[in-house]
């Protein structure tokens, strides 16, 4: 197994093991291809939901929407996450990847599954949306594709764990794993749980599509499906928060304000993120109130607490690092003097703010048992999750890619000016897109709905003019966001194809262990308390005020509705 080599990147000092590096590249590239496909499909989705354009016919629209959801949420994100897992283990711990052959097998399984699923969808007859609620059935290849993909992803998680073991055994580092790796471990643990739930429900459904199983109960399906569907979103949260910590470290040399706080927050994720599948069942029959309340709130909002902590400690760490460099004037000089022209940083920061303000606040609101009734299955829901998985996860992955182009792919980035603007275009148009979707959802507009004019219906409902306006704005901002996504793909793929090749750095047969660092002074003064990040604290208070106001406005609205008991 010692046939491998280790390369030390001259630009970042990171050490890449040869087999891990290839696997990271192939998984990341495949992810970008999925994003490209999903992005092209987004054109169809958004131009159909824009009422003045109403482009595709109903059949095609539902097919395209099914594929858009799956290619984006599952294939783009998970392929990229596999690359991130390998990076956080093999690269950050400077060790070889466990069982690279098996890792290739995992990749092939995922690829075959992804292609199989897409082919099934585009043949028509499987336009069941990514949730594929029974008894509406897709072709058996649709489910089999997802199952193969899930098995591949599960294997990748175990390779990640195996790599951690190798690092420990070969003593490539001392003490605890880095915080970013710790976050990746969180993501992988959650992944193992959720992918297993996915398999539990998809396998009988697949058998049902083959006629082997008679029927799968509709409510049981929804319950188990969401144990997979919701919790798997927490993989993304853990992954992109790890990336935020990594970017803070890379761009500023920032060290976590307190390892204890940040790691505890990740632990809270592991403990409570398995819950929250109830988010999607709050408007369902047959589920008990007590279960809904405890589950939807992650047992008293402990996972929300964890996210609020990360939301403070990451900018806080940046602030501390910047202040140490002398940007000490006022509350916000540290932020003004941040490298806003560097897409690695700007992408990460726009993701963080958008994820918190738009995705976080709306998510907690709609995850409240009673409040859920005023948005369930409206277009508010995609408004919320485009703020989480697009602004949060996708934009963070984009930011990380800009770092990886010279470091992992060893190419000089083409079109740096375009890249510099890309996070702003993509991020801000997505902010707006999410806001207007939520606006339309607040007015009741349905999600997954081909025609808000209800053509052909005898008792059509006339949406208020504002709803049409909002959906028009959804269309426009969606197109702008797609343009932003296209620039990302152009810069990434273009750099890989035509970017100047960069020096790969010294190659060695053996890994160089991570040198231990001397303990810092603060650590000796356990319990010391300063107030080191006042600017971040001020931002956090703004966030809290927005959160509280929005939360209670919705209760106020709810209180005016029909009595329900």
């Amino acid at each position: 197994m010692s046939a491998t080599t280790y390369r030390t990147c001259p630009r970042s000092g990171l050490q890449f093991e040869a087999s891990a590096e290839k696997l990271m590249i192939i998984n990341a590239v495949t992810a970008v291809v999925a994003l490209l496909v999903g992005g092209i499909l987004a054109i169809g989705v958004v131009l159909t939901r824009w009422p003045a354009v109403h482009w595709l016919d109903a059949d095609t629209f539902y097919m395209v929407l099914t594929a858009h959801g799956i290619d984006m949420l599952i294939f783009w994100i998970i392929f990229f996450e596999v690359a991130v897992l390998y990076f956080c283990s093999s690269t950050l711990l400077r060790c070889r990847l466990a069982t690279p052959k098996l890792a290739w097998a995992a990749y092939v399984l995922m690829l075959v599954g992804a292609v199989m699923n897409n082919v099934a969808v585009f043949q028509g007859g499987s336009s069941v949306m990514m949730t594929s609620y029974v008894p509406m059935m897709a072709s058996s290849w649709f489910y089999l594709g997802l199952i193969l993909f899930a098995v591949g992803a599960l294997i990748a998680c175990f390779i990640f764990f195996g790599t951690l073991v190798i690092a420990k055994r070969d003593k490539t580092y001392q003490g605890s794993v880095p915080l970013v790796t710790f976050g990746a471990i969180t993501a992988a643990i959650i992944a193992v749980f959720t992918i297993t739930s996915g398999a539990i429900i998809l396998i009988p459904t697949w058998l049902m599509s083959l006629g082997v199983v008679q029927s799968v109960d509709a409510l049981v399906y929804r319950t188990i499906w969401w144990a997979f569907g919701h919790s798997s979103q927490q993989i993304n949260v853990a992954a992109h928060i790890s990336i935020w910590y990594a970017v803070a470290a890379i761009a500023f040399g920032a060290k976590p304000m307190s390892e204890r706080v940040s790691r505890m927050a990740f632990l809270l994720y592991i403990l409570f993120l398995q819950l929250a599948s109830a988010h999607h069942l709050l408007a369902d029959p047959g589920v008990s109130t007590a279960w809904k309340v405890v589950n939807t709130s992650y047992f008293m909002y402990f996972a929300v607490l964890a996210s609020m902590i990360h939301g403070l400690t990451i900018p806080g760490a940046i602030e501390v690092a910047q202040r140490a460099k002398g940007y000490n004037n006022g509350l916000f000089e540290w932020l003004r003097k941040a490298p806003w022209g560097n897409p690695v940083f700007s992408g990460m920061f726009i993701a963080l703010i958008g994820f918190g303000f738009l995705g976080g606040i709306s998510g907690v609101m709609m995850g409240t048992e009673q409040l859920n009734m005023i948005i369930h299955n409206t277009i508010y829901v995609p408004g919320h999750f485009h703020a989480t998985v697009v602004v949060g996860t996708t934009l963070s992955f984009m930011a990380l890619t800009y770092f990886l182009i010279p470091v992992l792919f060893r190419r000089e980035m083409i079109a740096p000016t375009l890249a510099k603007w890309q996070p702003y275009l993509f991020g801000f148009s997505m902010y707006f897109f999410c806001l207007v979707m939520m606006g339309a959802g607040t007015l009741g507009v349905s999600r997954r709905h081909w025609d808000m004019a209800f053509s052909g219906a005898a008792m059509a409902y006339e949406w208020p003019g504002a709803a049409y306006l909002m959906m028009g704005l959804v269309g426009m901002s969606g197109v702008a966001a797609i343009a932003g996504g296209a620039i990302y793909i152009y810069v990434t793929v273009g750099s890989l194809l035509w970017g100047k090749k960069l020096d790969q750095g010294a190659v060695s047969e053996k890994f160089t262990p991570i040198p231990p660092t001397a303990p810092t002074v603060v650590a000796q003064s356990y319990g010391s308390a300063g107030f080191t990040a006042p600017g971040t604290f001020a931002l956090a208070m703004v966030f809290l005020v927005a959160f509280v106001l929005y939360y209670f406005v919705n209760w106020k609205y709810l209180s005016t509705l029909w009595g329900l008991a």
Binding site: L92, P178, A249, S297, E369, H449, S455, P464
Partner: protein
């Protein structure tokens, strides 16, 4: 050293925490408790809580009950399909069928009166989206969900299906009248 390096102190759980962090954790924690309290409290003091009364049912059983109500309380029919408009007495059990791609029948209710609304689907999942009030409930086949509803404003409401249910999903829309 930084977040991508192993922490320099071996026992990370003994790291000091800054006052910024401590304060924020405390504030966040209190806010989390408030939100949790709201959900629980609304069950006690609030007037909009989704009922969990649910029975297993079959299309035959549910259609029979709905048909009985229609036979008894139909006041007129509407649209080319002659969908019955049913005005059941206040306090009674009212039934609404969701199926591909319509709701049946049309209900006519009285403002300020309470009804037990039974919902189910005959086939796929559907949505009960009451507009413009914007109350949304999932309708799941095989399950009869009983909601106690008290309309608080007169007017013509629409019921939009907002769970994707196939090619004519967009035409699945009906009404509820409140007098």
């Amino acid at each position: 050293m930084s977040a991508i390096h192993p922490p320099s102190e071996r026992v990370w759980w003994k790291h000091p925490l800054d006052r910024v962090e401590g304060t924020w954790i405390l504030i966040s924690f209190i806010w989390c408790l408030v939100m949790f309290g709201m959900m629980v409290g609304w069950h006690i003091w609030g007037k909009q809580n989704l009922s969990t009364e649910t029975y297993k049912t079959t299309p035959e059983k549910f259609s029979a009950k709905t048909q009985a109500m229609v036979d008894k309380y139909t006041v007129r029919t509407e649209t080319a399909d002659k969908i019955p408009v049913v005005a059941p007495p206040a306090g009674s059990d009212v039934y609404l069928i969701a199926r591909l791609w319509s709701f049946w029948p049309i209900l006519e209710l009285e403002k300020g009166k309470t009804y037990r609304l039974h919902l189910t689907s005959m086939d796929y999942n559907h949505g009960f989206s009451l507009q413009p009030a914007n109350i949304n409930v999932q309708v799941v086949p095989g399950y009869e969900h009983v909601l106690k509803i008290t309309p608080n404003q007169a007017g013509t409401y629409s019921v939009v299906c907002n769970e994707f249910c196939g090619i004519n999903h967009h035409a699945m829309v009906s009404r509820i009248y409140v007098k």
